[in-house]
Symmetry: none
Subunit: 408 residues, 2 copies
């Protein structure tokens, strides 16, 4: 069942919705029975809000499934991440802000070390520095500009990662990976799974050859492994489904790109001095755009970054910083305010996790609720219960009046 498919029939005019995503905000205690990052944080504003809001827990994808940023956000936007899939290549391109046209193909690449017989020795070429990455990519780019009339673009990511973009005519994306995902074996041929993708496979195989030639004198980085051959998916656009205008306030390209995939407009965030992370810039942009949109997605990244770094105290500090911004958000008086995360990133795990995240909903049609703080434990006692899958957006839209009755 895809609720999105029902939206056009249900659509009616509603009020303003502000969806705040504290990336990876869910956490774990450092010691059994101890406080999570949210519980350890001093959050007087969030506490006051929690007492008059409805809380619950939210599992973005499914129990036991650790969401990447893509699926976590798609779920928040109302898109079932099992139905609405974004290829690895496209996600990587979004992540570094590379724009993709409808005919372009994006591929995630690894710089790799191959042995004398061409077998994979190290799938990550010893994790080179990003400068090293740049240097060898330029070497490849100097050698390969076009294949069969298809433009070949290379973009470095961190360490061994890069993105390959093909722009040209007649490029399908049903092509297998060349990355064998193990060492001691030969890289695979790219194989087309349908006729429309035959050219893409040929171009990729030729690219791999040319890259090896370009890197033949390199001591360590002498091959490339490709995976996630994909085109920008053509998702239904939330604003069109409901007749609303939606804006995204996010700095990182990945989140701006994901928001764009579902039809939100990523707004420019002004860079303010002494505000390198631009949370204040986002507030400035939000206030300026407030009258022009119905739905706002406001993203804060650093809670996740601190969690990934295993820095419990820094994650606590980032939560407290958000708490300080909260009064300005409340002053905008959104009809519905949602605060949650796209997944948990417990500092003790130094990674995303499958744990549910706290969900807070403030709106005009709430029942009473016992949860007194925006923490994992309190949210578990909240009146929204434990929500699973892409239901936060429908719930927020319903509270704001955008969804009419289903069936007579």
């Amino acid at each position: 069942m895809d609720l999105l498919a029902e939206f056009p029939e249900l659509a009616k005019k509603g009020g303003k919705v502000l969806l705040v995503v504290l990336d990876g905000v869910g956490g774990l205690p450092r010691n059994p029975g101890g406080e999570t990052e949210l519980a350890a944080a001093r959050t007087p504003n969030l506490d006051a809000l929690a007492r008059e809001a409805a809380l619950g827990l939210f599992t973005p994808v499914a129990p036991g499934i650790t969401p990447g940023s893509g699926p976590g956000h798609l779920s928040l936007f109302g898109y079932d991440p099992f139905r609405y899939r974004v290829g690895r290549g496209v996600l990587s391109a979004l992540g570094i802000g590379v724009r993709l046209g409808p005919g372009d193909v994006a591929v995630r690449g690894n710089l790799a070390t191959l042995d004398e017989s061409g077998r994979v020795k190290d799938r990550r070429a010893g994790r080179p520095s990003t400068e090293e990455n740049r240097r060898v990519l330029e070497k490849i780019a100097a050698r390969v500009k076009e294949i069969e009339g298809v433009r070949v673009e290379l973009y470095p990511e961190s360490e061994h990662r890069f993105v390959l973009v093909l722009r040209g005519e007649g490029l399908g994306d049903a092509v297998s990976d060349t990355d064998p995902q193990q060492v001691g074996v030969l890289p695979r041929e790219a194989v087309a799974r349908d006729e429309a993708s035959a050219k893409t496979a040929r171009v990729l195989n030729r690219f791999v050859e040319l890259a090896r030639e370009a890197l033949k004198d390199e001591p360590r980085i002498n091959g490339v492994l490709l995976r996630g051959v994909s085109k920008r998916p053509d998702f239904p656009r939330l604003p069109e489904l409901l007749g609303l205008k939606a804006a995204a306030l996010a700095s990182y390209p990945m989140y701006r790109g994901l928001a764009e995939l579902v039809g939100m407009e990523p707004l420019n965030i002004p860079e303010l001095e002494e505000d390198p992370d631009r949370p204040r810039g986002k507030l400035v942009a939000l206030k300026e755009a407030w009258d022009d949109y119905d739905l706002f997605y406001l993203h804060f990244k650093k809670t996740d970054t601190a969690g990934e770094d295993g820095n419990f105290e820094e994650k606590v500090r980032r939560i407290e910083l958000f708490d300080g911004l909260l009064p300005e958000l409340l002053a905008l008086s959104p009809d519905v305010l949602v605060i949650t995360g796209d997944h948990s990133t417990p500092a003790v795990m130094r990674s995303h996790s499958w744990h549910p995240v706290p969900l807070l909903l403030k709106g005009p049609y709430l029942r009473s609720d016992l949860a007194a703080r925006f923490t994992e434990d309190e949210a578990a006692r909240g009146s929204l219960g434990h929500l699973v899958g892409p239901v936060v957006m429908p719930l927020a839209l319903a509270h704001a009046g955008w969804l009419g009755k289903y069936g007579a």
Copy 2:
């Protein structure tokens, strides 16, 4: 996944189930933190029952989705409302008690105002009185009795609404609406989406023409808009799936019709003097039929009506009236008793809503439960948790012994 499809494999003989539906019983407080209708009601019998029953919350369709009576009831009966769809025309026909044979087509109609150029000026013709509705429908009916050998029947609903039924041979229902759902544009042609529906489309387009001719001297109601062209769906029948007998005790045609769609027998409700709403008539009929059926669906409408009217006190009173009847239901000693709603209808919203409804289950195999009253807040603490979708019926049937082990 459709649990119904598994029922025949699982079926075994069980005990008596009584499913009580207090229509739209879920509510909201009038002021933040205040009491809902259920919390405000004095319900000593329900309170006592709640202490020895299991409670939970129930979202009939999906979070954020406001169920119409059709989807809400289908969910209660165990039918996924996204899989088992009832067309708008058929629902309207059920709602006024018009019987449909398997070949008949039902259409929901609006009396409308068109401007000189034939464009839609008012989709509801200024919401005429029901008497006015009757008068113009008779005018159309006098002009149109049959088209291409197809019998054309017209039934007034309230205000601008009517039901059109076509009875004849070779009528498909894959036909688009003529209602453009907006003003300032021409009504659409009815278009067949398959060959089997070509005749239906022709008949409907001819009907629209003839109706305009019949109404050409009317100052305000001078056109008709049609939508929801549909035939009675052929659902699997719950009683046949499980080898049980099921009876429906409901007064309103809509609910009798919905129960019939899933294979329940709507029983005659005696009209007793000084009991215009017939709650007591339903009890008389229930007691009389008690030995002859396994599953009983008992419907009370007025909680919803009071909610739709925005009448908090009247909804409270209706809940209290039901509480007064409860001892008689308990005296029948059903093996499993379920009390819930098909959706919420908070008086403060004057409409159906997406909020979950309390669910009470009394049976022989219960765990302990903290919920002490049949209210939204208490139900949120209940041992059944928060159930979403068409799972109340399987749960009730399991408790009564109708469902055997799935898999060895």
